[in-house]
């Protein structure tokens, strides 16, 4: 069936997963539904302890069986030890057909690939995957489907009952004996536990794993004792050096600075750039550079940001310290500066993944965004973006908050160099649609700026900013004139992955990679 972004979603996939094709970003607006609820085991006896000796013991206590769904969070990023430690113990039990429902998975989790190959893990639900797990999915080693969800979409799926988590394993930088978890103060600070909150609320069993047991009560807690069944102490939950990096030096790459400058010039020429505006950006070189250059103009003009949202890095915290931002509302910390800021600055506040981006609660923070600055591997002439599948057809990225913020913000700006190495980033049709073009307003490249024709108001702003305006087709033509039109990637027939739109419909599918054959 052809969906609203023109992608053919096979009937078999719709039937297998009991899902509907994407019908438009806001198609389910106003819909009423009843939230799911977990099974709770009452802890009435005060003499009972939640402390469990080891992960091996806790996986037995949780009674993990074939076909269950196990969840993890990704706040430790590439420094995470939790997934591998837990899966190793589960693997020893000989359990099969598990679904991993993670907020994201990375290269740190390469060790679970053999468990995909031997059928321990048969389904993966994640914001995205990198490294060998991506290869395992794309080469057809995963028996079931990989479902890629945005951060907001994952919360929606859990809260609405599309997925039910049997056991959630939550790594916590600090925890007390009764399960109050905080993201700061331990050996492996990660700043926030935003994406794990929904797991704690909706999983039948919740296990806290920490390397820093602290005296009771560990409050204010990101995740409260009332949702936690067991507490396990291990030597190390992660590698701090890979959880949070030191401050990245601002880029000196003129190409990125130039795109950042275009972005800033555009932003300040829109009517949304006024005192109290709200803003979110990523951590790529161009995004950081545009935050820095925007900060200078805010200072000059005495304009303050009311809300800085989402994943946070040092440059945003510096603006907060300079009094140029009223509140930072945080769901993930990318560097030590951000972690220090949320630990010490009362105007830097942790929120949950649902508050951040769930499209089907009673209104998420992303809906209040004026600007979001995003990156993309590919953008096509319909302004659709692909942030998950690479130019070899391999799953190798994550949706993150991309579709959520794009849908929420009044002005969605995507920064992408015209060419990603040898490959055009601006193309006729993206390999895989992860963010629908109807939510993307402006595309900034090193060769020029294109405004979505659906936003003539923003086109006027871009003209006022004296930006080098091009149509999206002109940008594509410039890219193709340099590289030639790339041959389409050769895929097999089997669908190995599903790109779930934030409302739970299917926006695109990912097919198994076909080995290259010489003609």
């Amino acid at each position: 069936m052809i969906n609203a972004v023109g992608r053919d979603i096979p009937e078999k996939v719709l039937k297998d997963l009991n899902m509907k094709p994407f019908a438009g970003t806001y198609a389910r607006n106003g819909e009423e539904y009843t939230k799911a609820a977990p099974k709770v085991r009452a802890w009435m006896d005060p003499k009972e302890s939640k402390m469990v000796e080891s992960i091996a013991d806790v996986v037995k206590k949780c009674n993990i069986k074939d076909g269950m769904t196990i969840s993890f969070h990704h706040h430790f990023r590439e420094g995470d030890y939790i997934v591998n430690m837990v899966m190793e113990e589960i693997h020893k039990l000989g359990v099969k057909d598990l679904t991993i429902c993670a907020s994201s998975l990375g290269k740190a989790h390469n060790p679970i690939v053999p468990m995909i190959e031997d059928g321990t893990i048969t389904n993966i639900q994640s914001s995205g995957v990198r490294g060998q797990i991506g290869e395992a999915i794309s080469t057809g080693k995963l028996k079931g489907y990989a479902i890629m969800r945005s951060h907001g979409g994952r919360v929606r799926a859990i809260e609405s009952g599309d997925v039910h988590i049997d056991v959630a394993f939550i790594g916590a930088p600090t925890c007390d004996c009764y399960g109050n978890m905080r993201a700061v103060g331990g050996k492996s600070d990660c700043g926030v536990l935003s994406y794990a909150y929904v797991d704690a609320q909706y999983a039948d069993k919740v296990v806290a794993i920490t390397d820093t047991l602290v005296p009771y009560p560990n409050i204010p807690a990101s995740i409260s004792q009332v949702n936690v069944d067991y507490v396990v102490v291990v030597d190390e939950i992660g590698n701090p050096a890979k959880i949070a990096t030191g401050a990245a030096k601002p880029t000196t790459d003129v190409r990125k600075i130039m795109m950042a400058e275009y972005c800033t010039q555009f932003v300040i020429n829109t009517p949304y750039f006024k005192d109290g505006f709200s803003y979110q950006t990523g951590v790529g070189g161009a995004s950081i550079a545009s935050t820095i250059s925007l900060g200078k103009i805010m200072k000059e003009r005495g304009i303050k940001m009311g809300l800085g949202l989402g994943g946070i890095a040092g440059p945003m915290c510096e603006l907060l310290e300079q009094g140029l931002i009223e509140k930072i509302v945080d769901t993930q910390d990318f560097d030590l500066k951000a972690i220090e800021s949320i630990s010490t600055n009362p105007n830097h506040i942790e929120i949950t993944g649902s508050e951040y981006a769930n499209p089907m609660n009673k209104g998420a923070y992303v809906n209040q965004l004026d600007f979001v600055i995003l990156a993309s591997l590919e953008v096509d002439t319909h302004f659709n973006c692909n942030v998950v599948v690479d130019s070899n057809g391999m799953v190798t990225g994550a949706q993150g908050g991309h579709p959520d913020t794009a849908a929420g913000a009044k002005c969605t700006i995507v920064i992408a160099p015209l060419l990603q190495g040898r490959t055009p980033a601006i193309c006729t049709d993206v390999t895989t649609v992860t963010t629908p073009g109807e939510t993307v307003d402006v595309v900034i490249t090193d060769y020029g700026v294109a405004v979505n024709p659906a936003r003539p108001d923003l086109l006027e702003c871009a003209k006022a900013a004296k930006l080098p305006l091009k149509t999206i087709e002109e940008l594509r033509d410039m890219a193709y004139a340099i590289t030639g039109e790339p041959e389409p990637i050769k895929f097999g027939d089997r669908v190995v992955g599903v790109i779930e739109a934030r409302d739970g419909t299917i926006i695109d599918v990912v097919r198994q990679i076909k080995d290259y054959e010489w003609d």
Partner: protein, 301 residues
């Protein structure tokens, strides 16, 4: 007489790029330098000269540089490479050839002779490819005037500070004192011969203030532009060399008033309280031309 519109084109920024680095030469025009200088000389190792020529030829043939002048820096006349370098420049049809370590009018003439041979070989009309000369020695700087006058193909001379200071037996101090005489001598010679004059590179990329000061100084001395080593330097360079809005308005007034008063038979008059006569006319005209070339003029002159 050569009738090539490139002779007097705008050259505020002339950016060096290693001709062997695809990532550098594929699209430097997005940074909008006035000229790029594709380097076959110092940036390319001795055993890589062939490979660099190959890469250069295809770049010249296949990449649309969107109007940015394509200068090629060839190896010096003391090397075994310069003749083959000229052949590839002509075969690829670059816009200009930069002679390294030029020391005399004879060097320029030798290059021009080699160009003629190559032009015949590849069917390129004489006069389409221009010449500039880099002065890198005390002898070269002393001979600045004869070099400027050596060929109608030569559009200008550039100081090359690294080798020059070695020849002087000093180092680059950052104060400019070691270049004071060379710069003065060169701009005088260039202007005397009706040619352009370009300053040496500023290599400390982290000292943007120092770069700005040096660029402002050489602009004040009369230079037309500066050799640069990184796109980060373009914006400052252009800012310094592009007339300000105030300067443009002033120049516009002068040009208009002089034209008007001349028709009325008046020789001396005032504009905004300043005494103006015909002597101000060429300078004001030049400001307008510069503003037009830099794409910032919105008036009707």
């Amino acid at each position: 007489m050569i009738n090539n519109p490139n002779l007097n084109r705008l050259r505020r920024s002339m950016m060096f790029l290693n001709a062997q680095k695809p990532g550098l030469i594929k699209d430097p025009y997005i940074y909008k330098p006035d000229s790029i200088m594709l380097d076959l000389e110092d940036a390319v190792a001795e055993n890589q000269k062939d490979a660099a020529r190959y890469s250069l030829y295809h770049a010249l043939k296949e990449i649309d540089y969107h109007g940015v002048e394509r200068v090629v820096r060839i190896n010096g006349l003391e090397t075994a490479h310069w003749k083959e370098d000229i052949r590839v420049c002509v075969a690829g049809h670059c816009d200009s050839i930069r002679i390294s370590k030029c020391e005399s009018a004879a060097d320029v003439i030798a290059v021009e002779e080699e160009m003629k041979k190559a032009e015949e070989e590849f069917g390129v009309p004489h006069g389409e490819i221009l010449i500039m000369a880099a002065l890198e020695s005390t002898k070269g700087v002393l001979n600045a005037l004869e070099i400027c006058q050596a060929s109608p193909l030569l559009f200008g001379i550039a100081l090359s500070g690294g080798d020059y200071t070695k020849d002087l037996q000093t180092t680059i101090s950052g104060t400019g004192v070691e270049f004071a005489w060379a710069r003065g001598q060169m701009i005088n010679a260039a202007r005397c011969a009706g040619k352009q004059c370009f300053d040496t590179v500023f290599t400390n990329l982290d000292d943007m203030e120092g770069f700005r000061r040096e660029t402002e100084m050489i602009k004040m001395m009369g230079f037309d532009g500066k050799s640069i080593v990184n796109p980060r330097q373009i914006a400052v360079c252009h800012e310094v060399f592009t007339p300000t809005e105030k300067q443009i308005i002033q120049a516009e007034k002068i040009v208009k008033e002089v034209d008007e008063k001349k028709a009325m038979g008046i020789g001396v008059f005032t504009v905004d309280g300043k005494m103006i006569d015909i002597a101000f006319y060429p300078g004001a005209k030049r400001t307008i031309e510069l503003a037009k070339a830099a794409g910032v003029y919105e008036g009707d002159l």
